[in-house]
C-alpha cells in the first residue's frame, strides 16, 4: 500500500485489484476522519477579529475580539492566557512619585501630633496615632541594591513609628480614579524584621460629597527582610449615584507593626488585572517633580540675591507678585520665610543692595493657583518712594516660601 505525502494515509497502489477498492477507500476515509478530528473547525471563530488561542496543550479555543483600541496582553489568570485591555496612552500609574525620588520637604519629617502629616517623600503621608511619634523619611538605596536591576532606583520611603496604629498613607486625587475598573495595586517592600502588614484603600468623596466607601478591605501582606514585590487586584466601587465633592481622593494605607521600619518603593496603581512593569506616572524625573509641585512646592535660595520684584505701594511698604514654578491644584496655603536683614532672612531693598533701616513684616494678601502676592508692611518711615520698583532680597541661603495645596 502507498501512503499520502503529508499525513501518511494508506492508499491503494496503482496495481491493486479492483475488488479491493471499497476497502481501500474506507481505510483512506477513516484515516482522513481521524486526522480531521484533531483540527480546529472553522466554526471556532464566529466574529470578525476573533483569534484561536490555547487553553492547554493541544486545546484550541476562541478568543473573542476586543473593543476598538484595546491591546492584547498576556494574563495567566484567564482561560486562554490572554485578554484584551483598554489602552491608556499615558498615565498608566496613578501614583505620582512612586519611585520616591522627589522629597521637597527634606530627608525626614517627624510628627508627634495625632493626625495625618505629609512626609519627606512627596505625596506620601504618615498618620500619627494618639500623639505617638511617627517618622516618614527618604532613604537611599545602596548602589546596586535597588530591587529592579537596570532601573537602579536611588531612593525609597521608610515609615517608623512607636504605635501600631500609626501608618503610611497615599492619596490619589479624585475619587473617580479607576472607579468600577479592574485595577492592581503593587509595590516593593521590606521590613527591619519580618512582619505581616495590612493594606487597604477607600474612596473619599471630599467636602460636601458622599460618605467614604471602602474599596479594598484590610488585606494581609507578609513582608520579609528582603525586597520583594507585592500586589493586590481589586475593582474600586462604581461611583454611580455618588456625589463627588470638593477635593475628593482615593486613599491607600500600609499598616505595620510598631518599632519595625517598613520600607516601600515602586508603588503603582494601574487599570490591569495584574501588576505590569513598574513605571513612574510621568516617565521622567522632571515630570515627577512638576507633578509633585501641583500639590506642594518650596522655594529655596542657594545664595544671597533677589528672588522677586515688587513695587512700593506706600512709603512704608511694598507688594511683590510671586509666581509658582508649576500651577497648583488649588490656591495653596503659604508659609513665608522670616522678614529681616540678617542671614537667612528676606527684605525689600531701598536701593541696589541697600537694606532699609527698619524691615517690616511680610504677609500674604492674595492667592491663586498660579501665585500669590507678598505684602511687606510696617517698614520704617519714608523707606520707599511710592510707585518705585523694589527688589525682594534674600540674605544668604533660606526657604523663602512653601506652598501647600495637598489633599
Amino acid at each position: 500500500m502507498a501512503t499520502s505525502p503529508n499525513y501518511g494515509w494508506l492508499e491503494p497502489d496503482n496495481t491493486d485489484l479492483v475488488k479491493n477498492g471499497a476497502l481501500a477507500i474506507r481505510t483512506l476515509g477513516n484515516a482522513i476522519d481521524t486526522t480531521m478530528a484533531t483540527m480546529t473547525p472553522k466554526s471556532t471563530v464566529t466574529t470578525k477579529g476573533d483569534l484561536v488561542a490555547a487553553t492547554a496543550a493541544s486545546t484550541p479555543a476562541r478568543l473573542a475580539v476586543g473593543n476598538n483600541g484595546e491591546t492584547l496582553v498576556a494574563d495567566s489568570s484567564t482561560s486562554t492566557g490572554l485578554r484584551y485591555q483598554a489602552n491608556f496612552a499615558a498615565g498608566k500609574n496613578a501614583i505620582i512619585n512612586g519611585d520616591c525620588r522627589v522629597a521637597q520637604r527634606g530627608s525626614s519629617v517627624i510628627n508627634a501630633s495625632t493626625g495625618y502629616f505629609y512626609g519627606a517623600v512627596d505625596r506620601f503621608q504618615g498618620y500619627s496615632y494618639a500623639n505617638n511619634t511617627c517618622t516618614v523619611s527618604q532613604q537611599a538605596f545602596t548602589a546596586g541594591a535597588a530591587p529592579v536591576a537596570g532601573y537602579e532606583a536611588p531612593f525609597f520611603v521608610r515609615i517608623s513609628s512607636t504605635s501600631t496604629a500609626s501608618f503610611l498613607s497615599y492619596r490619589v486625587e479624585d475619587a473617580r480614579t479607576f472607579a468600577n475598573t479592574a485595577t492592581t495595586f503593587s509595590f516593593w517592600a521590606k521590613s527591619a524584621s519580618a512582619q505581616t502588614i495590612q493594606i487597604g484603600a477607600s474612596q473619599n468623596f471630599g467636602s460636601g460629597g458622599s460618605a467614604t466607601v471602602s474599596i479594598l478591605s484590610a488585606t494581609n501582606v507578609a513582608i520579609t527582610t528582603s525586597w520583594a514585590r507585592y500586589s493586590v487586584t481589586f475593582t474600586p466601587a462604581s461611583i454611580s449615584g455618588k456625589t463627588v465633592g470638593t477635593s475628593s481622593y482615593v486613599v491607600f494605607e500600609w499598616v505595620g507593626a510598631a518599632s519595625n521600619n517598613l520600607d516601600i518603593w515602586g508603588v503603582q496603581w494601574e487599570a490591569s488585572n495584574t501588576a505590569t512593569a513598574f513605571q513612574t506616572a510621568t516617565g521622567t524625573i522632571q515630570g515627577e517633580l512638576a507633578a509633585c509641585k501641583r500639590y506642594y512646592q518650596v522655594k529655596n535660595t542657594t545664595a544671597s540675591g533677589a528672588w522677586a520684584i515688587g513695587q512700593a505701594n506706600t512709603t512704608i511698604g511694598a507688594i511683590a507678585p510671586i509666581q509658582f514654578e508649576a500651577q497648583m491644584r488649588v490656591a495653596p496655603t503659604i508659609v513665608l520665610g522670616t522678614a529681616g536683614k540678617a542671614s537667612g532672612q528676606s527684605s525689600f531693598l531701598t536701593a541696589a543692595a541697600a537694606f532699609p533701616t527698619t524691615v517690616g513684616t511680610h504677609s500674604v494678601v492674595g492667592f491663586s493657583t498660579y501665585g500669590f502676592e507678598l505684602d511687606g508692611g510696617s517698614y520704617g518711615a519714608s523707606t520707599f518712594v511710592a510707585g518705585n520698583a523694589t527688589l525682594l532680597y534674600a540674605n544668604d541661603v533660606q526657604t523663602v516660601y512653601t506652598a501647600s495645596a495637598e489633599l
Binding site: F167, L336, S363, G366
Partner: protein, 58 residues
C-alpha cells in the same frame, strides 16, 4: 498640633481679600486662602474633621 486662627481682610493690587492667618504652637505662621478646596481651610472650618477621619484599616 494646636492652631490659633485669625481672619484678616487685606488690600490687594486689585481690591480686598479675606485671608486666614494660622499660627501653630511653635509660632509658625501660615496664610490660608478662603478656598473650599484648600484642605487647610477645610480644617479651619471644621477643626475636628482631620482628627476624626476614619483610617481605611481599623
Amino acid at each position: 498640633m494646636k492652631y490659633t486662627y485669625e481672619e484678616i481682610i487685606n488690600k490687594t493690587l486689585t481690591g480686598t481679600s479675606t485671608i486666614i492667618k494660622r499660627t501653630d504652637e511653635n509660632g509658625l505662621i501660615a496664610w490660608i486662602p478662603t478656598d473650599p478646596a484648600n484642605s487647610d481651610y477645610q480644617r479651619y472650618l471644621n477643626p475636628e474633621a482631620e482628627q476624626s477621619t476614619p483610617p481605611v484599616i481599623e
